[in-house]
Structure formats: structure tokens, C-alpha cells
Point group: C2
């Protein structure tokens, strides 16, 4: 029986929107947004989308008109009543009213600010400039839209049958990964794959697979919309944009040296428990920890997001011991370029020495490597970063020089101030 | 949008019928049926279903009531107008009106005769006794029903998500097989997998995959309903039941020795070209060919269905040469226990010496090995054979003693008459 009404309705779609909700974003963006709205509401920040995988000519693959339609659609979104109810009524990390009434009121009235889009050669230059708490919410939707439009461009060349086989393969691959992960005793793992997902529906499927296959070992997803839809935990804490913007705003070298700690001092006031997770690598993990105030050693854990993850974890363990803390009571979250083998290796290496958790990103929600000709669906490294604050450029060093961002002279200045020596170059996987 | 009408309609199903059409059967059953209707219309034959894989307790897995409902449903079927039109109007092997008007009239009025079902320990005893042209059409539906009820019994224990992953894996596995087959230059392969398929829908999917993946190398399916539905060739010639019944009817040892040739003489009158395919192994290939009349050497080809296939093909090649025939003009169809590696091996061994074709059966349409606990969806060896004709037992020897059938004294008698010596035992794969 053909449902004629459904068919006709489907034919009426003008576009098939990729991002259909303001909470189709990472939980930590909302946490950070609340913090920024309280502490730096009027800072003017510029976010810019950067394709680090330049061999992928996004502007040739993706039609500019379609890209504009998708971005315009996001600007038409506002928080729905159900979404607001979920954010207001839910328990996050065991805490009720994570989001204050004033933040919720602001969020309910928010529409995302304008974007600037320009084609530059084979790439798009996509930027968002405006008040920090507003423009920061563009990051995840912008990335998800570009990633999915690229997927769609490739999928549009395939037949119905090829598509079925493609997803059968992707499902089989993911399920095999989940079956290996199931062997890891005491595993704790979350989905961190919103930003570079193959598509929304695929991320949603991946999350369901993790729920089904891992049970309690799957602790939640960073994606609020999927957390709401699948009735699971929303996961996340804070990101590099906080120290990057705070640092760019610093008036003196002394202020700059203090900026990353000021970020966490503000965070400390707002959050407790599992939300107190240090992200130490923005300007080099080693120096950051060495100069850190003692109260930071009392935090719950650390997130390792660049460099050799085993070295990062060892550095943290040594640091906790030096500060008189018991590492076995600390949480280490690995979140950089993970796949099953790496997860198993890090788990076996650290599970008896610290509490270990994993934020699995792109190779959870976008592992279509090897499935189509020219590997045209392989994930690639697209980022959307704060590049300026109140007119000053931001800088990120991280523990891998291949992930560094900012003007060369500023990078040198930051390296000097944060005492970053020679760093080991590592390939950026995704 | 939920289509309420469809939901309500689905809820009204009494059963989900496995066999929904009288032409959901192998093409050669219809060819043979026409021949039998002309030559032996009143012979009383008894078909019996035998589970050669006794470790699978079909009677524990499959509810007797459900089995009866499925079998009863088949008895309610008659040829639809569209099916009749397709059989009457289609070209089979390049020939129009393959089925005579008198056969078609008979077929249009056919309902399948009663069955006898009894539980014996862990197995069912399912038999069909009646006029040969009627009971013979039970073979494929009976097998397909038991195979699919067994699949359903296992699938019923699985969650929605597990089911999705199961089929994703099966699709991925089949597609990988097809990709290997695609590498074989000059391949010709057909689907022979109706009788031991995982399910109807799965066989239909497999056929679509073969069409999509192999193009012209996929020459068709033995299943008439799927051939009609997918608008491709229906494939097949003749089977062991003809020599088995003809032989059982023989009054003397001399008549018995001639019976297998009488079958092919009758066939010779009715069919030409690619339908003239010798099935030589019913009572041993070697003796059969040695004693064969010269006109048989003029036939188009041979089907190798038991024993070591390479030895069977070599025997045929030698025989053709002895009879002054050019083997490169002859067709060798392999159809026993095939999978990709065996197909590739046989193709590379024989493609330059004869015309080679493959009838791929169970491991095309039912390769669910290793996918679920206790390998509960692995295919198994279920057959439905003519066991008696006009009250006399039938005998099959084949080129593998593990496939022999019939009373021990009759097997000895047949071995003596057909001069079958020691045979090599081979595991029956499926």
C-alpha cells in the first residue's frame, strides 16, 4: 500500500535540512556558552571554518546555493518547547538545573547570527563574527553541515543498491568495532562524533549501536539532540576556545600567562565534580601543569586531546603525584583520533592506574574509509575555531605542532611565554 | 506520518506466508513436470522430506501448527493470471511457447495435493504421495518453508537492532563475494538457491545483488517468481528425480540399465539447445557415460552435481573426445556445494577447455554462517526426494556415497547393474 499523502508530503520538501534543532550540538558548547554569557557576554569573536585536508576541494564538491540554504535553515531555528523543557528539567552529571533560568531565557530567544561565506579557489571561507555566546553556537552546526553536504555529494552519484550495500558495510564495520570494545573489561566510552559525522542519521544509528552493544560501558553522547531522542546522558565539559579567547584578550604578557588559569578559575566557580576536567594542551601540557595553581590538582580529571596520548597521561599522573594527589582517584579522558586498537591499548595501559574514559569521535561516526572509489567518503579534518577576539588573533599550540593555529609571530610569542620547547610532530588523523 | 491503514492491514495478517505463488519454484520443476505430464502422467510417486543434518532438531525448532498453516497456504494457491501470462508469453532459452497450451491449461487448474505430516522424535516426517506431475511440485515449496520457518524461529529470539546488524553483515558478506566473482573474466553464473534459501526476501535480495554487481556474468535465476519479478532469465534443465522414477519403474534388470537413457531420450524429443544438459551422476558418472548412446555425446553439455567436480569435468572431457566431440564447444555446469573460492578454482581450471557455467545455490542464498550464537542460522542439508514410484523404492547413488539414497539391497542391485565400484566419500556441504 503506497501512502500517497506521505509521498506527496516528501515531494514538497524544499530542502532536506541537515541541522534541524539548536540542540543538535555538543553539550559542552552549551555549558561554555552559559559561562561565556556570564563572564564575557560582549566580547566580539570571529569563528572561521578551516579545512585542514586541502586535497578535498569542498567548493567543487558542494554547491554554494545548497550550502547557503542549509546555513539559512539553521538561522531559522529556535529552541522548541520540548528542547527547552529537556534542558531545564534534565539532570546533567547528577545535577538538576545545570542551566540557569537566565541562560535558558536567553537561549529561548536566540537566533543564530549571520554568517559570511565566500569561495576562495577550491575552498569555502566561512566565518561567523559577533557576540561570543552567539557565534560560538555556529561551530558544530557549521561543521556538521559541511561534512554532510560532502557526504551527500558523493552519495548522490550512487545507485539505490550501492547505497544499501554501503550502509550494510558501515554497520558491519561499526558492529565489529563494538564487539571488540565489548571485550574490554571496565570500559567507559562516550560518543564525541557530532562535529565530523557522516550524517545526522548515521550518528544517531551509531549511538543506538553503542547503546545496544555496550550497555553501561557506553556512558552517553556529546550530542544533546540525540541524548534527548535516545534518553541517554549528554556528555562534555569545556574546550580550547575558552583559553584561546581569554588569552587573546590579555593586555600584557603577564596577563597572557595567567589567562588559561583564569578560564578554569571561572569554571571552578560554576561547576563541580565530573565537570571539573582540565584541558591542558592549548599551550602545551607540560608547562601548563608545571605552573598550575594547587587547587587545579584537586580537579576530577584531565582530557588528553593532542600529542602522544600515553605521554600526556603519564605527564598528568606524575603531576598529580607531585601535588600529593592520588592518581587512582583521577579521571583521564582520551579524545584525540581514537579508534578501537588505540582505545584497547590505552585502556590496558592506564585502567589500573587512573580512572579511564574515552570520547570517541570521527572514527565512530564517520568511518567510511575504503568503501567507495577514490576513498571519497573517508573522513577529513575540518575544524571551526575562534580565530580572533575583540580584533586580536587567537593562538593555539596544542601538543602537536601540526595542530597549531594563529599568526607566526604570535605563535612564537606564545611559545616563549608558555615555555614550549620542541614538540613532536604527529599526523592529524581526523 | 504513520500510515494507519497500512498498520491496521498488517495487524490483520493471520500468517506471513512464506510461499505465495505456485511459480515460487525452480524452473526445471516446471520443465520436468511438463515432460512427466506427457510421458508418465499416472505414475504414483511418493516424495519425502529428509533432514540430512540430524543434529538440527527441526521438530523442536518449528511449531507444528505453524508448519501446517504454511503448507495449507500453499495448497490454497493457484496460478495467477499474470503468472500464466508470463509462462505463456515469455521466451525461455530463446524459445517461445516452451510450455504447451495443454500443459498450461493443466497448470492453471492445479492445486497442490494433500501432504502427510508426522512428528518423529526431533524431526518431522513430511511426505507427498500422488500423481507424479502433481506431487513433484511440492519439493521446492516444502523445502523453502522448512528452511524459512527454521530461520524465523532463530530470528524471533533477536532484537530489532540485532536483526539490522545481522542483515548488514549478510549483505556485506555477499557483496564481498560478488566483488571477488567480478574479477573472474568470462564468468557465467546463475542463482540455484531457492530450495535452501534463508528466506524468500533474502533470495530476492541476493538476486538483485547479483544483477547489480555482476551484470551480464549473472545469467539468471532458477526461481520463476523472482525471474518474473526482476525481469531476468529463468534457468534450469532436469534433475535426478527423472532417472530415479524411471529406474524404479523398470520391470527387469535390463530395463533398469536402460532407464536413465530412456529419460534423456524422452527429453531429447522435447528439447533442444541449452536444455540438452546431461545429468550423469544418478548412478555413477563414469559408467553412465561409458554406456551412453552416441546421440547423447551430441548434447550441449553436462551438469556436475556430486563427487569431486574437477574429476567429473575431466571425465566428461575425456568422454567427449572419445566420441569425437570438441570439448571446447561443450558446456559444463557446476552446481554442487559451490562458494567463491571453488568457483574461481574451477573456472581457472576449465574455462579455456570447455564452456563453463555455475549454478550457485545454498552459499549464495543462505550463507549466515558464524553470525549468531551456536551458529544457529548456518545452512543445513535438507532434501525432498522421490522415494517410491508405483510402490517401488527409488535409488540414488550419485558420485558420493554420502549422498546415496534407497534401501540397502536395492543400492547393491543398482551398483551391480550400473557397474559402480568403490566411490570416494566426500562431506556434504549443504
Amino acid at each position: 500500500m503506497v501512502d500517497i499523502a506521505t509521498r506527496v508530503y516528501n515531494h514538497n520538501f524544499k530542502i532536506d535540512p541537515i541541522v534541524r534543532s539548536l540542540i543538535d550540538t555538543d553539550f559542552y558548547k552549551l555549558l561554555m556558552c552559559q559561562s561565556v554569557l556570564r563572564n564575557k557576554p560582549d566580547t566580539i569573536v570571529r569563528f572561521s571554518l578551516i579545512n585542514r585536508t586541502t586535497r578535498i576541494p569542498l567548493a567543487n564538491l558542494i554547491d554554494e546555493g545548497e550550502l547557503r540554504e542549509q546555513l539559512d535553515h539553521v538561522r531559522s531555528l529556535s529552541l522548541s518547547r520540548g528542547e527547552s523543557t529537556w534542558l531545564r528539567g534534565n539532570t546533567f552529571y547528577g545535577k538538576r538545573q545545570m542551566f540557569s533560568p537566565s541562560f535558558m531565557e536567553w537561549f529561548e530567544n536566540l537566533r543564530l547570527p549571520p554568517y559570511e561565506l565566500e569561495r576562495k579557489g577550491d575552498q569555502y571561507e566561512l566565518t561567523f563574527e559577533g557576540k561570543w555566546p552567539e557565534v560560538m553556537l555556529w561551530e558544530i552546526p557549521a561543521l556538521a553541515i559541511l561534512m554532510e553536504l560532502r557526504s551527500r555529494a558523493v552519495l548522490a552519484t550512487m545507485g539505490k543498491f550501492e547505497l544499501q550495500v554501503l550502509y550494510a558495510r558501515a554497520m558491519t564495520r561499526l558492529w565489529e568495532k563494538i564487539e571488540s570494545l565489548r571485550q574490554i573489561d571496565g570500559l567507559r566510552i562516550a560518543d564525541f562524533g557530532s562535529r565530523r559525522r557522516h550524517s545526522f542519521l548515521w550518528q544517531d544509528w551509531c549511538v543506538q549501536a553503542m547503546i545496544e552493544g555496550l550497555g553501561d560501558a557506553f556512558v552517553g553522547t556529546s550530542n544533546c539532540r540525540i541524548a534527548m531522542r535516545r534518553d541517554i546522558e549528554a556528555i562534555g565539559t569545556n574546550a580550547h576556545e575558552l583559553p584561546m579567547v581569554y588569552s587573546a584578550l590579555a593586555e600584557t604578557d603577564a596577563e597572557l600567562a595567567e589567562a588559561p588559569y583564569k578560564v578554569l578559575a571561572d569554571w571552578h566557580e560554576e561547576h563541580s565534580g565530573n565537570l571539573r576536567i582540565i584541558l591542558p594542551d592549548t599551550y602545551g601540557t607540560q608547562g601548563f601543569l608545571k605552573r598550575a595553581p594547587d587547587w587545579l590538582a584537586g580537579w576530577t580529571g584531565i582530557r588528553i586531546d593532542s600529542g602522544d596520548p600515553a605521554i600526556g597521561a603519564e605527564t598528568a599522573i606524575r603531576w598529580w603525584k607531585e601535588r600529593g594527589e592520588d592518581p587512582t582517584q583521577k579521571l583521564v579522558i582520551f579524545s584525540d583520533g581514537l579508534d578501537v586498537d588505540k582505545i584497547a591499548e590505552l585502556h590496558s595501559q592506564f585502567a589500573s592506574r587512573v580512572k579511564v574514559s574515552f570520547g570517541w569521535g570521527t572514527l565512530l561516526t564517520n568511518d567510511f574509509r575504503g568503501f567507495v572509489k577514490d576513498d571519497a567518503l573517508a573522513p577529513f579534518s575540518l575544524v571551526c575555531k575562534a580565530v580572533a577576539a575583540n580584533g586580536r588573533p587567537t593562538v593555539k599550540l596544542s601538543d602537536n605542532p601540526n595542530k597549531a593555529m594563529g599568526p607566526a609571530d604570535q605563535i612564537e610569542r606564545y611559545k616563549r611565554i608558555f615555555g614550549v620547547g620542541t614538540q613532536k610532530e604527529m599526523a592529524v588523523i581526523v
